[in-house]
Symmetry: C3
Subunit: 116 residues, 3 copies
């Protein structure tokens, strides 16, 4: 099966597509200092939409999602944005746990696997 990469850099790729499956990198918000958890989640999901499009997929084809929150007490704030974004009838398997992220300004990180 073929391997194709989107946004490939020296350390990682934003997505790697293998056959009919796309693996996306853990995504964090742009300009996180100015954003609360809801705004970071919104920004991340916009980036995921764009990366899925480049990979030839979209959010209705999400297979699984892993969500890391730097403070699990922000679960509801993240979910409010997630619930408004996710494709109804096509929701992925999901796991959400607390973890400190690469820098304290990052409050949310989301990684997904999608079908092509």
């Amino acid at each position: 099966m073929s391997i194709r990469r989107v946004g490939s850099g020296a350390r990682m790729s934003q997505a790697v597509i293998h056959g009919n499956t796309a693996y996306l990198a853990g995504c964090v918000a742009r300009e996180p200092d100015s954003k609360d958890v809801a705004a970071q989640t919104k920004d991340i999901l916009e980036q995921i939409d764009a990366t899925l499009a480049q990979a030839g997929s979209d959010k209705s084809k999400l297979l699984s999602a892993t969500i890391w929150l730097s403070d699990i007490s922000t679960f509801d704030q993240m979910n409010k944005v997630w619930d408004g974004w996710v494709s109804q009838g096509n929701t992925p398997a999901r796991a959400t746990v607390e973890a400190k992220l690469a820098a304290p300004r990052f409050k949310v990180e989301i990684g997904v696997i999608a079908a092509i």
Copy 2:
């Protein structure tokens, strides 16, 4: 490849099956307040058995498992139940790390990927 969902809700699905691969949501125990780590693990693995059955798979076809413990010092308690459950000769790749979960009453969360 086809996509099929099991236990699909507005936020997530309990399992998403893509071709011959099933991605299960991170699973936590039912009625966790009354259960210690061993009992939560047992309850989770029962739920995983049921979801795998609905997906057309079973524990002998597990590919990978991610286990999150809210307190890593309970590693041995979780493993005692895991070791008695997992299909001998058919064990998955596995990673176990500590993470706070959606609520403090949840001590264990397990997500798996399985073949169909």
Copy 3:
């Protein structure tokens, strides 16, 4: 699709290969007490190279990687080794978060999915 296992034990397998996709277990360093984060990362990546070879793959076919650091402030130390190891032009999707690991002596754990 066929399922094949590498380094299969009573609790987990070092890798499970399903069709053209290999799922590797979360890998930690051997003799961790004598190793700092950089040395643990180097040791882990050597083990991943060996397991990928047994699975019929190699690091140029990595699809995704999850990296857990027991102290996220060691991000740069881990990355220095990672950046020198990963196959340029063929980098995987990646997520790195902080998590306590099975024992305090383990500073790094890495799990990967690779194409065959």
